[in-house]
């Protein structure tokens, strides 16, 4: 009961101070300008549209520069943009201010409290309240704002009565557009209601403070759109790519023979396994630091499957130290089934794939240790690699192993190329897994990617030819996604 009373008192206090607020806004009016000042010519022809292709709550304004901006008297310093708001909005802003004063008292921070007599009086009232009362008042006020905001659109209809011009923003001279991007949240002070009558005005301001107002724009309404037409090129490519992928995956599933060219690095893997067998030394397979959802790691699993199968056939030893626990379980599965495929499930050892640690350099130190102790005949690095790539490849070279690598981490490719014998560059890693796995899903999506690449080549060639002529720009603009 007591809280309700308090709430009423505070609200009354706030509403009474609203008359001050209106007085404040009256000051802004151009009629108050002192006579000695030379008025600039006003900006002309203020017009506005609902901001296209957005979720609403925003208006794009544009005007013609004042003749005294960049010419004439050349006195215009800036443009002040105003919008008309109903009293309800001013009231709600005040309530919001008082909520924030309460918050600050609750937070025991005095820094940044709104200046001025009004805030002081609020502060005085609030500081007398107990903590729990403060919370209650705050919650009631918040509820009040929430309810009040819903009536804003209705209140806007009263223009020009029952409201005031509110300063929005200033723009430097030479600017002739302003996008009033309102908030879509009821609770935010920048809230702009959709389908409400909005009014705008732009003032040209000189360095002395003389102001000249443009015509008043309004009523104008903001609204949301259902579809962002600016992004049509993206929609097209999303649809095309999806269709291409689904089409080729289906085709591959039906057993169509989709050609993938052989890759040097993959041929080298087979040779390297043979070499390891001859030398009687193990093969080290490093899956990198990626997670099981990383495309490079997924590609690496397929290659690991192939390597494990060959290893099982040749009866060589395989070592797979892993960095990520999920990657480890998947890798175990892959290796186990590869041994099964090769008809040697008995040769599979549980610790072939083992977890090391999930710390980058500790992992490197451990793998380096394996390299120098076991002296593997071949080291295969496939997956996501970061700064550790060079340390691994360097140590491997020191141990005299043949090294085959592949990663899509661009920054690390040079180190692999320099220190390894074969390197799958970027996308080649993905292609390698499709080539080896012959899985319809992988083959199909590789095909779709190839078609997309072909499209780039064709479009770029046409575009470059057209770009030599003036009418080519229209073609280029097709690929320009604004906003």
């Amino acid at each position: 009961m007591k809280v309700k009373l308090l709430f009423a008192v505070i609200l009354l206090l706030l509403l009474s101070s609203l008359s001050f607020a209106q007085d404040d806004s009256a000051e802004i009016d151009t009629s108050a300008v002192v006579e000695e000042l030379v008025l600039p010519a006003p900006p002309g022809n203020l017009s506005g549209v609902d901001k296209p292709n957005d979720h609403g709550h925003s208006i794009d304004l544009s005007w013609e520069l004042s003749p005294d901006d960049g010419g004439g008297l050349n006195t215009v310093l800036q443009y002040d943009i105003y919008h008309w708001v109903p009293n309800l909005m001013l009231e709600l802003n005040l309530v919001r201010d008082s909520i924030s004063v309460i918050q600050k008292i609750i937070r025991k921070t005095t820094n940044g409290i709104i200046e001025g007599s009004q805030a002081d009086s609020m502060k005085k009232v609030f500081e007398k309240l107990s903590r729990s009362e403060l919370f209650d008042v705050r919650n009631s006020l918040t509820e009040y704002v929430k309810k009040g905001n819903k009536g804003l659109a209705e209140a806007c209809k009263s223009y020009p009565e029952g409201g005031a011009w509110l300063f929005l923003d200033k723009k430097p001279s030479g600017t002739s557009t302003f996008d009033h991007i309102g908030s879509k949240e009821f609770k935010s002070s920048g809230f702009v209601p959709d389908f409400a009558n909005l009014y705008y005005r732009v003032d040209a301001v000189t360095a002395d403070g003389a102001k000249a107002s443009s015509n008043i724009l309004g009523p104008i309404q903001s609204s949301g759109q259902w579809y962002n037409t600016f992004r049509t090129p993206v929609v097209f490519s999303v649809l095309l790519f999806t269709l291409l992928t689904v089409f080729f995956v289906q085709k591959a599933r039906k057993g169509a023979d989709l050609y993938v060219r052989p890759l040097g690095g993959i041929e080298a893997v087979d040779d390297a396994i043979g070499r390891a067998t001859e030398m009687g030394r193990p093969i080290l397979y490093v899956l990198g630091l990626g997670s099981a959802a990383d495309i490079a790691t997924i590609a690496s699993f397929t290659i690991l499957g192939r390597v494990a199968k060959k290893v099982a056939e040749y009866q060589t030893e395989l070592l797979v130290p892993t960095y990520d626990p999920i990657v480890m379980t998947v890798a175990q599965e892959v290796v186990k089934s590869a041994y099964l495929d090769a008809g040697r499930p008995d040769a599979y050892k549980e610790d072939t794939v083992h977890f090391v640690t999930q710390s980058q350099f500790a992992y490197v130190a451990a793998v380096n240790g394996i390299m120098l102790r076991e002296l593997p005949a071949t080291n295969i690095y496939m997956g996501k690699f970061f700064a550790e790539s060079l340390i691994l490849a360097e140590t491997g070279a020191l141990a005299g192993s043949i090294q085959i690598s592949g990663t899509d981490e661009i920054a690390q490719i040079p180190f692999f190329i320099v220190a390894c014998d074969y390197t799958l560059i970027g996308e080649e890693l993905y292609a390698a897994s499709a080539y080896l796995g012959k899985e319809p899903v992988l083959l199909g999506s590789l095909k779709a990617q190839d078609y997309a690449k072909a499209a780039i080549i064709v479009l770029a060639v046409i575009g470059v030819i057209l770009a030599q002529f003036d009418f080519g720009t229209e073609f280029v603009n097709l690929f320009e996604v604004v906003n």
């Binding site: 292709n53 979720h55 962002n228 495309i295 379980t329």
Partner: protein, 225 residues
């Protein structure tokens, strides 16, 4: 159940986020989903911490190799955690920034975390040098191209390169080493990088599509785990 629910979640979330790009009213929903994602990402940090504690306690109880060092990890972990969560030594109260100057958290950050992580990466300087002595060879035409490009960039990033070719006249200035280095970066390098990012970009697009459509399920692990 173990597979179907995750596949549905992935499909729904992925589709909503794609649609929210084109359909403005869905923007808010997309924002909320991403906010959920960010919050879950923090739980992933907690999972990382929990995992760390579990692994190192196991190591200690099993007395496996180097188990003594697990104590170091755990002490470091808990001290830092306490310093951060209780804001020990922070000026101001609970609302102050966790990294505020003067806090124990920031002190440990500066004198333990910073030297450790930056020295880890500084080690790479040594390995780069060693690799350039040992492995950087003009084995074939491709390797030679790589080597020459690297050499020009190395020269170009030192005043030495400027000195070496300052006699080249203005009308031939592209052959001055610094200009040549800039040109290498902004022409052939740009072309090569673009070719790679288009390829990898398409790879990412393709795997995203496969994940959303449920064609790619590796990340779920095996059924028994």
């Amino acid at each position: 159940m173990k597979r179907l629910v995750p596949l549905i979640i992935t499909f729904v979330v992925g589709t909503v986020l794609i649609l929210s790009v084109f359909i403005p009213p869905m923007e808010g929903l997309g924002e909320n989903f991403t906010l959920f994602f960010d919050i879950i990402a923090v739980f992933a940090f907690f999972l990382g911490g929990g995992n760390l504690v579990r692994v190192h306690f196991q190591k200690m109880s099993r007395k496996s190799d180097d188990w003594e060092f697990s104590i170091v990890t755990l002490v470091g972990f808990f001290v830092m955690l306490a310093a951060g969560l209780f804001k020990i030594g922070n000026p101001g109260d609970i609302a102050s920034s966790v990294t505020a100057d003067g806090s124990l958290f920031q002190a440990i950050y500066r004198s333990v975390f910073v030297p450790l992580s930056s020295t880890m990466y500084a080690l790479l300087a040594f390995f780069v040098a060693s690799a350039s002595y040992r492995a950087f060879r003009a084995k074939n035409r491709e390797a030679t191209l790589l080597l020459v490009a690297a050499f020009i960039i190395l020269l170009g990033s030192t005043p030495f390169g400027t000195m070496l070719t300052s006699w080249v006249p203005e009308s031939w200035s592209i052959f001055q080493i610094p200009n040549l280095a800039v040109w290498l970066m902004s022409s052939p390098n740009l072309a090569g990088q673009r070719a790679i990012i288009i390829g990898i970009g398409l790879g990412v697009v393709s795997i995203s599509l496969r994940l959303i459509l449920g064609l790619e399920r590796t990340y779920l692990g095996d059924d028994n785990a």
